[in-house]
């Protein structure tokens, strides 16, 4: 009897393990059926033909066909309150649609293995393309994995008949959306990045909150240092915060001032010619190095993570931190009373009317739709994306997520503007006082060759070395350029 029990127990263990391993298989078979039909329940499919008239008038989709949309949501510093509101509103309006949401700050760790596994049934219907490495979205788009959202531009925004989506999106965001040859995503919200500070501290110390030229900017940093405060800080553990958000924009400022911006940006996007050893880029790195030699950065900056560097500004140990406009939302629990966020970018020349570039992007709050999904799911995913342009959701993006709503007409109403969080309001205020041009660092293709990895590592290590005045960037840039050119040669798509 004991043996029988032991056998049964072992059998149960094996079955449980196999069931666990086969869990996906079961889903797969269920989903496989759904792939050819939809995710609709069998009973709904049976009755759908009989009730074709029972459709939503605004989109022609069935009211009875039950659909579950699998969503991958990147819950970053902006939180998920706005998304919860969007889903609630949408499911109230369309009760036949339900959501299966995976919401996490580390969506990339789920997305990339899912995509690598190549199982379309297991994949999200729609997700925020939060990848760790640059160029991943472009690669997916090129590989034909993403559904085109071109048709959304000519759709009416919610509740406003005749007002097309295209008409409320900026040209820059529109161009960005089409940069992959088709609309892989439409911008729902955007971010900006640069130097953030406490306006109250600047007022108390009498520091210049609006340096209009390079000399004024350097004079400001000198004054801050003379007052015993660290002028600039950044998370050295993730040193790209300094270059991506501040120093990489200088090359574009300089190109614009030289009258070569159009060629420069074209070469940048297409990896044509030198990428790291252009006169503009070398100058930007040299300025970083000079700042390092002058002691503008904290001595132990390499050990700071992003929270620590932001805390330095909240505690008034440092004056300016290089980060994104999500900082207000991210640090709201630690922000002392009276602290008022301010923003500035770096004016690279001494022309008071120069164009100042500010890094911006739409990647954090835009959904892509997986192509190999049932048509009905893709249609509902598009409906959901369109619903995000409802002003109530756009207001929630501003007030709860601490991001820039993408609708241009958002600013038509002062009550809506008042709902912007302090960091976004600060960026908007800066933009009204300077000739600001927003720029993203998108490229036409990504580099995967090992040489590119080595070049990036060289640059990444150079940031803290230059920022502490230990290493002259020029030789490293030359060395990294050689590796980068080898990678470009290898990875450039064949015509």
């Amino acid at each position: 009897m004991k043996n029988v029990n032991a056998l049964l127990l072992s059998l149960v263990m094996v079955v449980v393990l196999l069931a666990g391993c086969a869990g996906n298989k079961n889903n797969e078979s269920a989903s496989s059926a759904a792939n050819t039909e939809s995710n609709a329940s069998p009973s709904a499919i049976a009755t759908s033909s009989a009730s074709e008239a029972n459709v939503y008038p605004e989109n022609g989709l069935s009211k009875e066909e039950k659909v579950t949309l699998k969503m991958g949501f990147w819950e970053a510093g902006s939180g998920r309150a706005w998304m919860d509101l969007a889903v609630k509103k949408f499911t109230e309006k369309y009760p036949n649609v339900t959501f299966d949401i995976t919401s996490t700050p580390t969506l990339n760790t789920i997305l990339e293995p899912k995509i690598a596994a190549g199982d379309d049934n297991d994949m999200f219907d729609l997700f925020i393309p939060n990848f760790t490495a640059a160029g991943q979205l472009e690669r997916l788009a090129k590989a034909g994995k993403l559904e085109s959202q071109d048709d959304l531009w000519e759709r009416d925004v919610p509740g406003e008949t005749g007002k097309k989506l295209r008409s409320v999106i900026s040209d820059d965001a529109y161009d960005s959306s089409l940069s992959m040859g088709f609309t892989a995503r439409v911008p729902v919200a955007g971010y900006t990045a640069g130097l953030f500070y406490d306006q109250k501290l600047f007022d108390e110390k009498g520091w210049n909150k609006n340096p209009g030229t390079w000399d004024e900017f350097v004079a400001l940093l000198d004054q801050i240092k003379a007052d015993g405060v660290i002028p600039l800080t950044f998370p050295g553990v993730y040193a790209g915060y300094l270059t991506d958000y501040v120093f990489n924009t200088i090359q574009f400022d300089l190109a614009k001032a030289n009258g070569t911006f159009d060629t420069y940006i074209k070469n940048f996007r297409s990896f044509t010619g030198p990428q790291l050893t252009t006169a503009e880029n070398k100058e930007a790195w040299n300025r970083l190095y000079e700042f390092g030699k002058k002691g503008y950065f904290p001595s132990g900056v390499a050990a700071l993570n992003h929270t620590q560097s932001q805390m330095q500004v909240l505690q008034h140990k440092a004056a300016l931190v290089s980060t994104g406009d999500w900082v207000g939302n991210e640090m709201k629990e630690s922000t002392p009373e009276g602290f008022t966020w301010g923003f500035m970018a770096v004016p690279a020349t001494n022309d008071a009317n120069q164009t100042v570039f500010v890094n911006s992007g739409v990647g954090d709050t835009a959904f892509v739709i997986w192509k190999n999904k049932p048509e009905i799911n893709k249609k509902w995913a598009k409906e959901f994306i369109m619903s995000l342009y409802d002003f109530e959701i756009q207001e929630s993006i501003a007030s709860q997520a601490g991001a820039f709503p993408s609708r241009l007409d958002y600013g038509d109403d002062s009550a809506r503007i008042a709902k912007l969080q302090p960091t976004q309001a600060a960026v908007m205020d800066y933009a009204t006082k300077h000739n600001v041009q927003y720029i993203s660092y998108r490229r036409e293709f990504g580099l995967t060759s090992p040489e590119s990895g080595q070049a990036d590592k060289m640059l990444s290590e150079l940031i803290t070395a230059a920022a502490t005045g230990k290493k002259d960037p020029s030789p490293v840039l030359e060395q990294a350029e050689k590796l980068k050119q080898i990678a470009i040669e290898k990875d450039r798509p064949k015509q």
Binding site: E112, V237, G453, K457
Partner: protein, 314 residues
């Protein structure tokens, strides 16, 4: 005659019974081992075998892979960052296991041989670090090493040493060695418990005889205790050395390989090549993973050579 037939039947029946029992035993063993074996094949062996294949590809993990033969291995040999990371691994491999084993042995010996009233509390305290996750350990030490409000600078100030907000992890001269402390602190607990159990298994009569013959504590330690737990020490040394070669979690959280690559190790470099912010190439990362595998096997062989297995019975 009948008795003979009955006897044969009994033998046959007995043999059949024992065959059945043997079959049942085999089935039971198979079913008992099958879940673990299946798990091993699925989650360990299969991914490892696939890594060999991936190492021959140029693959970003998302889109189509290109077969590149041994290019990744050729690049790896030419990659200065691989060799620098390996050098750091080598240093950690010497320092960290030596400190962990030495401190663990010392604490285990003291707890076993000194009858402190708080012995049981000490055991819990030492083992406590093993209960903490690596992330917690790393964050704890990031507060200790912090330049502005860190415990270390605060303590040094008590002794009159003003460190002027010195960030121990922010300077390439100190970051590497500073990381040794959390690695050792986080690793000692488990081995203290293992050594305590190993030492307590040594018969007391051996110690009593040694004491009667006038042996001093050091003699007892080096002539009785250590030789008799040599097998356990050997296993622990293997674990700690292999762990220090492939581990990188503490480093990733505290410095991410910086400042200026001074704390980069091979595991972290491989991880960043596969999942880093700037760059993604599963193929190249897998090639380095294969190299790491060879190093681990090599290290195990060297340890086997240096510490031959000796069974001690007592």
């Amino acid at each position: 005659m009948n008795a003979g037939i009955n006897g044969n039947e009994a033998v046959v029946r007995k043999r059949q019974g024992s065959d059945k029992a043997r079959r049942q035993r085999a089935v039971f063993l198979f079913l008992a081992v099958a879940p673990s074996l299946l798990g091993y094949f699925l989650f360990t062996l299969y991914p490892n075998v696939m890594s060999v294949y991936y190492s021959l590809l140029d693959w970003d993990g998302l889109t189509g892979a290109t077969y590149v033969g041994f290019d990744n291995y050729v690049n790896m040999v030419k990659d200065q960052f691989v060799w620098r990371a390996l050098y750091h691994n080598l240093l950690y491999m010497i320092v960290v296991p030596a400190l962990i084993v030495f401190i663990s042995l010392l604490l285990a010996y003291l707890l076993n041989n000194k009858s402190y009233r708080e012995n049981s509390i000490y055991k819990v305290i030492y083992f406590f670090t093993n209960v903490l996750s690596t992330v917690v350990i790393a964050l704890l030490w990031s507060f200790i090493f912090d330049g502005s409000f860190g415990l270390l600078n605060g303590m040094l100030e008590l002794f009159g040493l003003n460190m002027n907000d010195f960030y121990w992890l922010g300077d390439s001269r100190t970051a590497f060695w500073a990381l040794v402390l959390p690695m050792v602190w986080g690793g000692v607990g488990l081995y203290v418990v293992i050594f305590i159990n190993a030492i307590s298994a040594i018969p007391k009569s051996l110690y009593e005889a040694a004491v009667l013959e006038g042996a001093r504590p050091m003699t007892i330690l080096f002539r009785i205790t250590i030789p008799l737990i040599r097998g356990v020490i050997r296993v622990c040394v293997v674990f700690v050395i292999l762990g220090s070669i492939k581990g990188f979690e503490v480093i990733m959280i505290l410095t991410n390989g910086g400042p200026e690559g001074s704390t980069d190790v091979i595991g972290l470099y491989m991880f960043n090549l596969a999942f880093g912010k700037e760059y993604h190439n599963y193929g190249y990362a897998s090639a380095i993973g294969m190299f790491l595998f060879v190093i681990l096997v090599g290290a195990k062989l060297i340890i086997d050579k240096c510490f031959p297995e000796e069974n001690v019975e007592f």
